[in-house]
């Protein structure tokens, strides 16, 4: 169902409200609690039951989803165009004082499994990646994964690095530790079963452990480097959907393709080349906090990221093409008799057993062209304002933070770690260069006695020159009707800009744009709103792209 275009413009532009906002004459554009910082969770979701989506169906759906993509603004943002803290996302970068030490710790709350024997509850033996589920001496459930033979540190270390950085930018992740394992550390729990590739499910026997460990990278002393991820708190009820809402979650009212943090996940996934960013690599868990039971969504399994493809080094195509190439490309390459050569075939790579395969340079890398293995509806709905939101988060991920995350991977190869850190920095920089200037990058406005101040994220990040000046068009704003009446215009070479007489006004609307910018997109203003409260102007609204 779509609204009439005219009504839509009035609703969105004139009122400058975000998706949660309301826009009728009977209700205000901005409520007293705007902008909300926390997504309300008001309903008990304890009735949610576990549902595991089928991986192959998800794959087929992602590969062949021909449904149109609406150019619709994200619906879960608050009135200042930010994502409130909630079951999918928590604001960290740009909100918390992120430090290298904080990021290195990430979601960890312990030092790892309790000392003592590990009891194997089940084994992952699908023939692709190897892993065990164990219970430590304290009864805590952990998942163990290994490096493939000859690639010591690659899969395990990469997973840690990516988990730390996804945590830093705001996603819920679980606890990760690098550890060591001796085969003798493992005992088989009673009732443990295994389904070896090509066999029926059966009880696990000690030989199974040896057979599986034979597929893992082993150190000279007979131990195995492993990554231990702690089971997420709560009861698993499935995975993250990237479209629609979960039918049994009463708090889930925004279709996921319209959640900014899931759209923006595409930008972060591009950053870390997390090509396996699919539903199966996430978790929806029923948790109880503050007396309310709700479903929290976690990102998991980052072994196929950066230079790692989990079972081997990253393949050249990964990140450049989806799992199944574009039909036009296939046809061109077929008719080209091999001489239509994709660029990734001739790219130069750095390769190391510790970190896998990384591009030597990202000068020509285009983040907007990045492709996960499987596209999803939320990724398809990514707009310039969603990408800006994600890129702006990355301006707070400093080189030191990246270095700390890489160090947490404990690769044990300084040269390879340096290459990995370089890769992450370069990809971040390319994202900033691409997405910050692509839209008017004005943000964090404030209205004080000193004038109108604001931030230009692209200039702050050093990815675009400051424009010759800024223009602010001021309007009286009627919060009850959403009507805006012009009252003046001020300009200046830089913030702060002069403020016209606003006496007697409760709400003011300001359209801020660059004057004669080198980037044409900056001429389109961001629309911000302030509310006077207690004699001070409070920033309550921002629309970057209607």
């Amino acid at each position: 169902m779509r609204c009439r275009p005219g009504l839509r413009v009035v609703l969105v532009v004139a009122l400058g409200a975000a998706a949660w906002s309301v826009t009728s004459g009977a209700t205000p554009t901005f409520y007293d609690d705007d902008p909300i910082q926390v997504e309300p969770i008001t309903q008990d979701a304890s009735g949610a039951a576990r549902y595991e989506p089928d991986l192959i169906y998800q794959t087929l759906e992602g590969l062949f989803d021909g449904r149109p993509v609406s150019d619709e603004r994200a619906r879960d943002v608050n009135t200042v165009d930010e994502v409130p803290d909630g079951p999918f996302y928590v604001n960290r970068a740009g909100h918390l004082p992120l430090t290298p030490a904080l990021v290195a710790r990430g979601a960890n709350t312990s030092d790892g499994p309790a000392p003592g024997a590990w009891s194997v509850v089940s084994a992952k033996s699908d023939g692709i990646t190897l892993g065990f589920t164990i219970r430590d001496a304290a009864g805590v459930l952990w998942f163990i994964k290994f490096d493939p033979p000859g690639w010591r540190g690659m899969a395990t270390g990469t997973e840690v690095v990516a988990a730390k950085l996804f945590w830093a930018v705001g996603y819920h992740t679980v606890e990760y530790h690098i550890g060591r394992l001796r085969a003798s550390d493992l005992t088989i729990a009673s009732g443990a079963t295994i389904t070896p590739a090509g066999e029926a499910e059966r009880a696990m026997v000690p030989d199974d452990v040896g057979r599986l460990l034979a597929r893992a990278d082993r150190d000279a002393d007979g131990t195995y480097r492993v990554i231990l991820s702690r089971a997420a708190p709560g009861r698993p009820v499935g995975r993250i959907r990237f479209a629609g809402t979960r039918a049994d979650d009463p708090n889930d009212v925004v279709p996921h393709e319209h959640r900014r943090e899931l759209r923006g996940y595409r930008v972060f996934a591009a950053w870390l080349n997390h090509v396996d960013a699919k539903g199966i690599n996430s978790l929806a868990a029923l948790v109880t906090e503050g007396g309310r039971t709700f479903i929290r969504r976690y990102l998991l399994d980052f072994g196929s990221a950066l230079g790692s493809a989990a079972t081997g080094p990253r393949e050249g195509w990964e990140g450049s093409e989806p799992l199944v190439e574009d039909r036009g490309d296939i046809l061109r390459r077929t008719l080209g008799f091999g001489f239509v050569i994709p660029a990734w075939r001739t790219a130069r790579w750095y390769e190391s057993p510790a970190v896998g395969r990384l591009p030597r340079s990202h000068d020509d890398w285009r983040p907007e062209d990045w492709q996960p293995h499987i596209m999803n509806a939320a990724f398809r709905h990514l707009r310039a304002d969603d990408a800006f939101w994600a890129a702006e988060k990355l301006t707070y991920v400093t080189d030191d933070i990246i270095a700390a995350a890489v160090a947490a991977g404990e690769f044990g190869n300084p040269a390879a770690e340096a290459e990995l850190a370089r890769t992450i920095r370069e990809r971040r920089d390319r994202i900033l260069q691409t997405w910050l200037p692509a839209i008017d990058p004005i943000g964090r406005p404030a209205l004080t006695a000193g004038g109108l101040t604001f931030d230009n994220a692209a200039v702050r990040a050093g990815v675009a020159p400051a424009p010759p000046g800024y223009r602010a068009r001021w309007s009286r704003f009627d919060n009850a009707t959403g009507a805006a009446s012009p009252i003046g215009e001020t300009t200046g070479a830089a913030a702060p800009l002069a403020v016209p007489d606003l006496s007697g006004l409760e709400f003011v609307q300001v359209e801020i744009s660059a004057v004669d910018p080198a980037v044409a997109a900056w001429a389109r203003p961001v629309v911000v709103h302030f509310r006077r409260r207690g004699g001070q102007w409070q920033w309550v609204g921002l629309v970057r792209l209607p």
Binding site: M1, R2, L7, L11, A19, W20, S21, V22, T23, S24, A26, T27, Y31, D33, I36, E39, P40, T42, Q43, G47, Y51, P53, D54, I56, Y57, R75, T79, P196, G198, E199, A200, R202, R211, V237, G238, T245, R246, A247, D248, D249, P250, N251, D252, V253, G316, W317, L323, V324, E325, D329, I330, L331, R332, R333, T334, G336, F337, G338, I341, R345
Partner: protein, 391 residues
Amino acid sequence: MHARVIPPLVLALLLACRLPAFGQSSRAELIAQQQAEKAAHLAPEVATAAEIVEKRILSSPLLAGSGGVYPWFGSVYSGTGFAVGAGVLHRAPLASRLTATAAISTNGSLSGDLAWRLPTFAVNGRFQPWVEAGVSRLRRLQTWGVGSDVQVTDRTNVDFRPTRVDAGVTIDAAPGVSLVAGYGYLGFSTAGNPGAAGPLPGLGASLDYGVGHVGAVLDWRPSPGFSTNGGFLRGEWRRYAARDAAPFSFDQFEVEAAELVPFVREQFGLAFRALATTTRTDTGDDVPFVLLPAVGGGETVRSLPTRRYRDRSRVVLTGEYRWRPSRYLDMALFLDAGAVGPTLSDIPDRPFRTGYGIGARVHGPTFTALRLELAHGREGFRFVITGGQPF
């Protein structure tokens, strides 16, 4: 907070237009009302109908490799056309499985096969015993006689009725190195008109064999099912000992080698293969025509009909230029050449039959699901549809 009762259509319109619910005094209340509305209409999170259908299809024994009955498609014997049938698969621990299939081909040929892969044993399951058995009733197999100079007009049709039982063990001696040894029974009868090319050895006879065989493979390809680099070397000896003093005992030796040479990170590559087969009979014995090495068909010279030329020895040479339009589609331009003769030393003096063509291979990372090839040679065009990589 009390939710207002709003007719569903009106509510839908309001939500669709993103107009507010009425009466909230805060954003949190507005969202709470939306959540309360949803709480009144919760449903289980379940698979869609399409997902259920997909899971049923993919969990079938044919596609998932799980146990049960499955449809079977393929060929019961090269040269008999496309066949359909049914199979049943039973899996057991330690890679053990029992497979039984029955099929009928478009030319009316019938085949029933049983394969039992026993549990692996020894270090890391390196020893894989197996038992295979099959009964076929193959009709109207095209035959042109023996030798390299048989003509197109020499064609005749024969029926072939083999019964076989074979048991052996495959030993994965080291990565890429495997040994196979086995012994079994082969019995068959043939019937038909020898045609204009002259007598066909063993035609009309019922023969019983004890067949022993030993083989070794050195394979440095990433996967035998699909590869873009590497190669292999294979050698096999088979002893066909005819029973009841029938004069058809012989040995067969076969050597095959292939090398895949990729360029530009496997964007394209060259592939080469050589195959040589020869037989040595006991004194005074002969090789029944149905067991003679042959040239022609999808595995040798693709522009020729299946087993177009037969003799006691053969040599096949193949070269391919391959390119990769997709990770699931390889294309190839190929050139085949093959010759038969009484001995390998006679082959250089025999005419090599050549053909060329273009092929498409639909594959996964470790298997080739479908091979489509159009070949042309002196006997015209031939279209090959089969599975597995050519080499």
